[in-house]
């Protein structure tokens, strides 16, 4: 075989060995040993400049075969010194350099401006052969660039993943903070609202009553803000879940609209309603969240309207379909929204009037939360507005009509409702303990007090209460552990005392933890005295029946 043919064969074979991996080290590992065998070399190395601004570090090759540490090359220091002298020239040479050290010849091939490749042989290679290797070296240069770019891409991806992880951690920390803050704010608020309500039921002067009503109203305002912040946190954490139930739409609307009619009247505004008669049906949706959107839209309409009034219209299309689209239109004659502000009002923390001289209160979460909830319900909120003339907000939601009657609620067993029960109240906060105690006394119940889970457990064993109101966060033993222990002991006897969680931990996860521990009902603080008494009455007759069984 002629020399030229052999040359082309080797060249071809070597070229195909290049770039068989996208990672630098494996790519060079697949190339170098076979290349050395073909070229009769005993050692090979690649030096790469990872940064244009720094000089090539000849003492630290990017890759060597055999390994650099164990194969200490005779005369390597001498080689590096000579290489230093040549390195600048090498970048511009078309022909490889040869450096002779003792019985070895090091051939240096420039990889353009990226670095160098060297192979060591014990015998010289003909010039023709060295030149024939140039296309292989060019190909190797391209492969090295591709590998470095790939590594950079992987690094960037890793950095992005790290950033996402850190953001998730930060988000988790924020959620934890919000949950803690919510608990810490709800606990004193519960005291304020509870004691204010109880005091309002006593004999007061007109001035005292007015003052206390203001206190109650302010506290309720603060509570709404906390609820909005919690909702926002759930939306950001993508943990806001809908809880569908079957309900009659018409009574829900009437109840909601009643209080706004009164508020409009107080402000001297008219309040007109028009509800499609086809809406007198049972639907399946998250009634609380639907109500939340309507309250927010109606609240805004009254807040931003100084004269004229509000028109509320509810319609359904198509009217007789099982899966209909229901539209709620709230039209006001208020200040209106400029076209520029229209684009921002559904963003978090935004009010159309965003300056420090704001006239209207609110933290700018309501519409953003409403829009998000509407979206979760597969619906939309649209706005039409003319500044100075008013706005029309339209909520459109698909609702499933249910062709069945809801079970009628049995009238409250009057005897049961009026019966005095022994209720164990486990609550560590003295103010909240006092509020609950007063509410229970008002309901005619007998109360056993406990200040932590351990005391609650002992009181349950000794006093055999009819029902337990259990706070969650308590010293020594928390409410969850106390509940678990009660349920474990009950498992032996088959008994079941109703336990109601009464807690300022208002997150959905907290609620789930209570049910997981074995509680029967969950009431978030601040609670309304009426609701607490109603729940107690609902649970007690059932539990008595269970006991008899």
């Amino acid at each position: 075989m002629s020399f030229d043919k052999e040359l082309v064969s080797i060249q071809y074979s070597l070229a195909l060995l290049v770039g068989r991996d996208l990672q630098l080290e494996p790519m060079l590992r697949k190339f170098m040993p076979t290349a050395l065998k073909m070229l009769g070399g005993t050692w090979g190395a690649v030096w790469l400049k990872l940064d244009d601004t720094v000089e090539l570090n000849l003492r630290e090759p990017a890759y060597t075969y055999p390994s650099f540490n164990t194969a200490v090359l005779p005369g390597y220091e001498d080689f590096v010194e000579k290489l230093h002298l040549h390195v600048r020239n090498a970048e511009h040479q078309s022909k490889p350099l040869a450096i002779e050290i003792a019985t070895n010849i090091f051939y240096i091939f420039p990889l353009q401006k990226l670095g160098l490749m060297a192979i060591r042989r014990t015998a010289a290679l003909p010039d023709k052969f060295l030149l024939a290797l140039q296309p292989v070296i060019e190909r190797l240069t391209t492969a090295c660039i591709a590998c470095l770019e790939h590594e950079e891409l992987l690094r960037t991806q890793q950095q992005a993943l790290n950033a996402v992880r850190k953001a998730e951690e930060a988000n988790q920390a924020k959620s934890q903070f919000l949950a803690t803050m919510s608990h810490e704010l709800r606990t004193p608020l519960h005291g304020i609202l509870g004691l204010t309500s109880l005091t309002l039921d006593t004999h007061l002067s007109e001035e005292q009553r007015d003052n206390l009503k203001s206190v109650k109203s302010s506290a309720n305002g603060l509570l709404s803000i906390i609820d909005e912040i919690l909702d926002m946190s759930r939306i950001e954490a993508k943990t806001l879940r809908l809880h569908n139930d079957k309900f009659q739409l018409l009574p829900m609307l009437e109840n909601t609209l009643r209080s706004f009619a009164a508020r409009a009247e107080e402000k001297g505004l008219y309040f007109k309603t028009s509800i499609d008669s086809n809406l007198g049906c049972v639907v399946e949706a998250d009634s609380n969240r639907l109500k939340q959107i309507l309250i927010n839209l109606l609240d805004n309409a009254i807040k931003f309207t100084e004269s004229g009034g509000i028109c509320f219209q509810a319609s359904v299309a198509p009217p007789h379909s099982d899966r209909a689209s229901v539209s709620f239109e709230i039209q006001d004659s208020g200040i209106g929204i400029s076209p520029a502000s229209k684009e921002k009002i559904f963003a978090l923390f935004t009010q159309a009037e965003g300056s420090h001289k704001r006239k209207y209160s609110g933290i700018g979460l309501g519409l953003a939360i409403s829009a998000k909830i509407a979206s979760l319900m597969h619906g939309t909120i649209k706005v039409d507005s003319v500044p100075g003339q008013g706005s029309t907000f339209t909520l459109t939601i698909p609702l499933n009509k249910v062709n069945e009657a809801l079970p009628t609620k049995k009238p409250q067993d009057q005897k049961a409702a009026n019966t005095s029960r022994k209720i164990l109240l486990a609550e560590d906060n003295p103010v909240n303990r006092k509020v609950a105690q007063k509410v229970l006394e008002k309901g005619g119940h007998q109360i056993v007090l406990a200040v932590d889970g351990q005391e609650a457990l002992t009181a349950w064993q000794q006093e055999a209460p009819d029902l337990i109101l259990m706070d969650i966060q308590m010293p020594n033993m928390d409410g969850l552990e106390a509940t678990v222990r009660i349920r474990q002991e009950e498992a032996l006897s088959g008994a079941h005392v109703p336990i109601i969680a009464l807690t300022a931990n208002a997150q959905e996860s907290d609620q789930q933890a209570c049910f997981d521990a074995g509680m029967d009902y969950f009431i978030a603080k601040p609670f309304s005295p009426k609701k607490l008494l109603a729940v107690i009455n609902d649970l007690l007759p059932i539990s008595k029946k269970d006991h008899n069984v």
Partner: protein
Amino acid sequence: MLEVTGLSDEQSDFRGQMSEFAEHTPSNSSLLVFVDGASSRIAYFLEECYGLFGANCQYLGGGTGSSTNRSQPSIVTNSGVKKDCAQLISIPRPMTTSVEHGWNKIAGPFLVTSASNNIIHTLDYRPAFETYQEAIRESTGEDISLENFHHQSHLYPFGMSRIDSAVVVRETFKVKGDSLVCVGEIPENQLVYILYGTTLSLINASKQAATSLTGAGRYDKSFPVLIFDCISRVFFLRKQFQEELTGIDATLTARGHTIGALTMGEIACSGDTCLEFYNKSIVLGVFHEP
């Protein structure tokens, strides 16, 4: 002494198994390397071995096994006779080695377009066996069939192209579908030739190996010469195999001072090339003073 396991296993970490042994092996040591000749990743193992011990050691050895039952355990270790493993013995004394084979190119080059370890699937994008048959028919007029493959293929091994017209021989011993199974790996994109040898070329090659050894300048008569000679050369040379050995003896000045074995694949490297796995070759080695 070190036993390296899982020679055919793609997941084996050879460097991990050898690194501690390498740390305790002084520079300028000789490594006697024995591998199970039926393993499928011998060349890769030797690449890792050279990658770790480097050019400051010299290597000599061969593949173990039976030519009639390739799957039977054949490596003698301290824990018994085993298969699919390698045995490394470090001797703190340098060695001079030489390698020759006597095979010449008769057809090619062919590009190995598909291969996995020691199996060639396609040559020049065509089924390997078909290409091999055609090339031999065109070059020699001889027909290689499935029936006569076992008796005839050892006459026509492959040669992997190296610079200076050199080749590393690969023996093909089995047809598997349209693929050819070799003793030792043939990497993809490797250029290969079909080789042919004569009694004379093989015997002359063995003499040349001895001449290279004695001419290396560091040949020390006080040490025995180690010989690892491929078993296939016995089948090829038949009665004349004795001539190969006497030829070596005659060339070596210390007559009778030779020991060795017939092997299934040969291993040698004394620092002027990378460590390679040879077939159908003869490798010689002799210790000398540091």
